[in-house]
C-alpha cells in the first residue's frame, strides 16, 4: 500500500502549509460576490496564476490597482494589437463602474498571499546597477511612490515584470497618447539595453522582495 509512505510525507508538507505565509488565506477577506471572477484568473486571494498569465495582485496598493483598472477601461492597456495577454484582462475592467473599481482595489490590497517564488533566471548583481535609475521613481526598496504614479514592484510575479518591461520597450504598453504614467515608464524601460538587462533587473527586484 502507498498510504503509510504518503502519510509521513504529508505530515511534513502540512507543517510547511500551515507556516507563516500559508496562514494568509484566513487573514484574507472573503471575495466579494461580484469579484469572485477576479480570483478565477488571478487565483485565490489574488495570488497570481501563471497558467492564465494573470499576476499576483495581493497586498498591492489600492491606488495603483485603480490606476491600472482605469488604464484598461480607457483602452490604454489591452488594446495594442500585440497585447494579446492584456486583451484577456481588458473586458473585465471595462465592465466595472467607479464604485466597483474602488471595491476591487480595496479587495486586492486587503488580500494576503505568499510572496511568489522566483522563476526568472537573471543576475541580481548586474541588475542592481540597472536599478539605480528605477529607484528615482519606484524607490530604493521598490516600494513605489504614489505621488509619481510609480507602483511598488516588490511582490509582483517576476515573469509578469519581465513581460511588462518588454511591453513598455516595444510600445505595447505606454504608447497611448493619454497614458501619461505609461509614457514616463516607457521612456525608462528604453534605458534597459537588452533582454538580459530586463532579466537582471527583475532578478534584482525579486531579491528585494524576498529579503
Amino acid at each position: 500500500m502507498k498510504y503509510p509512505l504518503a502519510s509521513c510525507l504529508f505530515g511534513v508538507l502540512l507543517a510547511v502549509f500551515m507556516g507563516p505565509s500559508a496562514g494568509a488565506a484566513e487573514e484574507s477577506p472573503v471575495s466579494p460576490d461580484d469579484l469572485v471572477y477576479c480570483t478565477v484568473c488571478h487565483g485565490m486571494q489574488l495570488r497570481g496564476n501563471r497558467n492564465i498569465e494573470a499576476p499576483r495582485l495581493s497586498e498591492m496598493d489600492a491606488w495603483y490597482i485603480e490606476q491600472q483598472l482605469v488604464a484598461f477601461k480607457n483602452g490604454w492597456r489591452g488594446t495594442h494589437p500585440q497585447d494579446l495577454i492584456g486583451m484577456e484582462m481588458r473586458p473585465m475592467a471595462a465592465a466595472l463602474n467607479d464604485t466597483q473599481i474602488k471595491a476591487a482595489a480595496k479587495f486586492a490590497q486587503a488580500s494576503r498571499a505568499p510572496v511568489p517564488a522566483a522563476t526568472v533566471d537573471g543576475d541580481a548583481d548586474a541588475g542592481r546597477t540597472h536599478y539605480s535609475t528605477c529607484a528615482a521613481c519606484h524607490g530604493v526598496d521598490a516600494s513605489g511612490n504614489e505621488a509619481l504614479g510609480a507602483p511598488p514592484l516588490a511582490g509582483l510575479n517576476d515573469w509578469y515584470l519581465v513581460r511588462q518591461l518588454e511591453n513598455f520597450r516595444d510600445g505595447v504598453r505606454g504608447s497611448h497618447p493619454d497614458d501619461l504614467y505609461g509614457a514616463q515608464m516607457r521612456a525608462s524601460a528604453a534605458l534597459l539595453p537588452d533582454d538580459q538587462a530586463i532579466r537582471d533587473v527583475v532578478a534584482y527586484i525579486t531579491s528585494l522582495q524576498t529579503n
Binding site: 500500500m1 502549509f17 497558467n51 492564465i52
Partner: protein
C-alpha cells in the same frame, strides 16, 4: 483476416507505399481492442458509518463519481463554483445565462423546447461505450444525429468562384481523379515490387469501384455526385467533373475531407433528444444530496487520513473535512488554488496546456436549408466560422437553431476578442456567402467562447507528447487521498468519454486501495 491473406495484404501495401504504410496498416490491424459494452463498476461498499467523499466540480466526471459512490454507501458532496450543474455539458435555451467573463449574455431564443443549442458536447459515436452505458442505465433518450451530409456544402472563398459546392460532388470527383491515377499506375506496374497478374487485375477493379471509373479506368463523372438534371422522369444527366487542378488548389481535402473517417466523427453519431445536457441532468436527478452550487473551492489541504476543502459559499468561507476527494477542477486553475501538494504533482499539473473552442448558435426564423435539400449535417467553409451545422431534429418545423461558427483551438481567440454582438454580425456575414439571405433569417444568437467562460477558461487541456510520457501516469495516480479526474486526465480530452474513462479509472484505483487497506486492517 486469416494469416495468409493478412500477409498478402501487407505485401500489397508494401509494393505500393513502402514500409511506413505497412507499419501503419499493421498498427491499425492490431488496434481493435477496447470495444464492447462497459462493465458495471464493482466498488466495495463503504460499510457501516459511511465515509465522506467530497467531489470538486459538477461536470460529467464529478457527477458520475458521486452517482457510483453513493450507490455503495458513501456520503458524497459535490461542490460546484458555477450557478449551474454540468460544466462543459451546456445546452442553451430561452433565458439561460451564458457566464462569459466580461460579457454576461442571456440566451434570447424563443421559449420553445425544440429551440436549443448544444454549446458544448453535441455528438456521441457508437464506440463511446461508457457514455452509452450511462445513457442506457439512466434512460436518456438518444437519436441519430447527422454529422457529415453529402448534400451540405464545401465553400472556399477563393475557389470554385467562391460558390458553395455540394460535398458529394467534391468527394466523388476527388476520389475519381485519384482512382484514375492509381489505375494507370497499376497498368504501368509502377511499383517498387512487381505485382502478380491476379493482384493487378484486382487492384484495377478496386480503383474502379472506389472512384467510379469507367471500364477503361477513366473518370468521367459519376452519379454519386447527384445529377445535373433528370433522374426520375428522364434520364439522369451526369455533372461534369470539376477541373482537377482547381480541386488540387482548393484546401478542403486538407482540412476536412476525411472528417467522416475520423473514428470519433464517423457516421452514425448520436445526440440526446432535447439537448445534450439531458445526460448530466439525468445524473443530477439521481443524487441523494443535491450539488452545492455557487461554492467555489479555494483551498485543498491533504491530511494523513483525508482531505480538507475550503470553499466559499453564500458570502462565507467554509471547510469540509472529507475522507476522500475527487477533483475535476480544470487543471490550469490548481496553481491559483492553495494546496499542499508535493512539488512533482504540482509540476505534473502545470504541464498541461489550456485548449480552446468557440461556438455560435443562431435561431433562424425559417428552415431555409431544408429547401436546399439539406437535412442535418455540416457545411464546411474556409472562413473563420469553419462550419455551419443544421439541426437533425424538428425537420420541417417552423424554426431551427443552426450552429453558425465552430472555431477550434487557437482559432477561437479571434472571436474571443470581439463583443458578443460583433461575433454574431461576423458569423452572419460569413453565412451570407454560403446561403444568400442568411442574415435576414437570424432572429437571435448566442456565442460561447470556452476560453472565456467563468470557472472554465478552456477546454481540451493537453500536454506535449514528451510531457505526456513524463507526467500522464503521475496525474492519474492519487496524491494522498485526492484524485484528479475529468476528461483532462485522459487521452481523450474534450470528449465526454474521456471524462468517464478518467472517472472509471479513479474509481477502480480508489476501490483497489480501499480493498487493500481493508485486507491489511482485518489481518492486523
Amino acid at each position: 483476416m486469416d494469416n495468409l491473406t493478412r500477409r498478402r495484404f501487407l505485401s500489397l501495401v508494401g509494393a505500393a507505399g513502402g514500409s511506413s504504410a505497412v507499419y501503419k496498416a499493421s498498427m491499425a490491424m492490431g488496434l481493435l481492442a477496447d470495444t464492447g459494452p462497459m462493465a458495471r463498476l464493482d466498488i466495495k461498499s463503504a460499510g457501516r458509518g459511511g465515509k465522506e467523499v467530497v467531489i470538486l466540480g459538477a461536470g460529467l466526471a464529478g457527477l458520475t463519481i458521486a452517482y457510483e459512490l453513493q450507490r455503495v454507501g458513501y456520503n458524497c458532496t459535490i461542490l460546484e463554483a458555477s450557478h449551474r450543474v454540468g460544466g462543459r455539458s451546456l445546452t442553451l435555451r430561452h433565458g439561460d445565462v451564458v457566464d462569459e467573463m466580461g460579457y454576461t449574455q442571456v440566451c434570447n431564443f424563443d421559449d420553445d423546447p425544440e429551440l436549443f443549442f448544444n454549446a458544448g458536447p453535441a455528438r456521441i459515436p457508437g464506440h463511446h461505450r461508457r457514455v452509452l452505458h450511462y445513457c442506457r442505465e439512466l434512460q436518456v433518450p438518444l437519436q441519430v444525429k447527422a454529422n457529415i451530409n453529402r448534400s451540405a456544402y464545401v465553400h472556399e472563398s477563393d475557389h470554385f468562384g467562391g460558390k458553395p459546392v455540394r460535398l458529394a460532388e467534391y468527394v466523388t470527383d476527388a476520389r475519381g481523379f485519384l482512382s484514375e491515377l492509381l489505375y494507370k499506375a497499376v497498368d504501368r506496374n509502377a511499383f517498387e515490387q512487381p505485382l502478380s497478374e491476379e493482384d493487378r487485375v484486382r487492384l484495377k477493379e478496386l480503383t474502379q469501384a472506389f472512384g467510379d471509373l469507367d471500364q477503361d479506368g477513366l473518370y468521367k463523372g459519376s452519379s454519386r455526385s447527384g445529377y445535373k438534371s433528370g433522374g426520375f422522369l428522364g434520364h439522369g444527366e451526369l455533372k461534369e467533373p470539376m477541373e482537377f487542378g482547381a480541386l488540387l488548389d482548393s484546401s478542403f481535402w486538407r482540412r476536412g475531407m476525411a472528417q467522416s473517417e475520423n473514428f470519433d466523427w464517423a457516421e452514425p453519431l448520436m445526440e440526446a433528444v432535447g439537448g445534450m445536457d439531458n445526460i448530466v441532468k439525468a445524473f443530477a436527478r439521481q443524487l441523494k444530496k443535491p450539488v452545492v452550487l455557487k461554492a467555489q473551492v479555494q483551498a485543498v489541504q491533504l491530511r494523513e487520513d483525508g482531505v480538507d476543502v475550503i470553499y466559499q459559499h453564500k458570502g462565507q468561507r467554509r471547510k469540509l473535512a472529507a475522507d476522500y476527494c475527487f477533483n475535476s477542477i480544470p487543471v490550469h486553475f490548481m496553481e491559483g488554488i492553495p494546496n499542499n501538494f508535493s512539488q512533482d504533482y504540482r509540476d505534473a499539473l502545470n504541464a498541461f496546456e489550456r485548449g480552446n473552442f468557440f461556438k455560435i448558435g443562431l435561431q433562424m426564423r425559417e428552415r431555409f436549408w431544408e429547401r436546399e435539400g439539406i437535412y442535418g449535417g455540416i457545411t464546411n467553409t474556409d472562413q473563420r466560422i469553419n462550419q455551419i451545422w443544421y439541426p437533425s431534429h424538428g425537420i420541417h418545423g417552423s424554426k431551427g437553431v443552426v450552429l453558425g461558427a465552430y472555431a477550434f483551438w487557437n482559432q477561437s481567440h479571434f472571436f474571443e476578442r470581439m463583443t458578443p454582438e460583433e461575433r454574431i454580425r461576423y458569423a452572419a456575414d460569413c453565412g451570407e456567402r454560403i446561403h444568400p439571405g442568411y442574415s435576414d433569417y437570424i432572429e437571435a444568437g448566442v456565442s460561447v467562447p470556452w476560453g472565456r467562460m467563468n470557472h472554465m477558461m478552456g477546454c481540451g487541456s493537453r500536454m506535449t507528447p514528451e510531457n505526456e510520457e513524463r507526467y500522464f501516469d503521475r496525474v492519474r495516480q492519487p496524491e494522498g487521498r485526492h484524485w484528479m479526474v475529468g476528461d483532462q486526465i485522459s487521452y481523450h480530452s474534450s470528449w465526454q468519454e474521456g471524462a468517464l474513462a478518467s472517472a472509471e479509472y479513479a474509481l477502480n484505483d480508489f476501490d483497489q486501495r480501499a480493498r487493500a487497506a481493508a485486507a491489511i486492517s482485518s489481518k492486523g
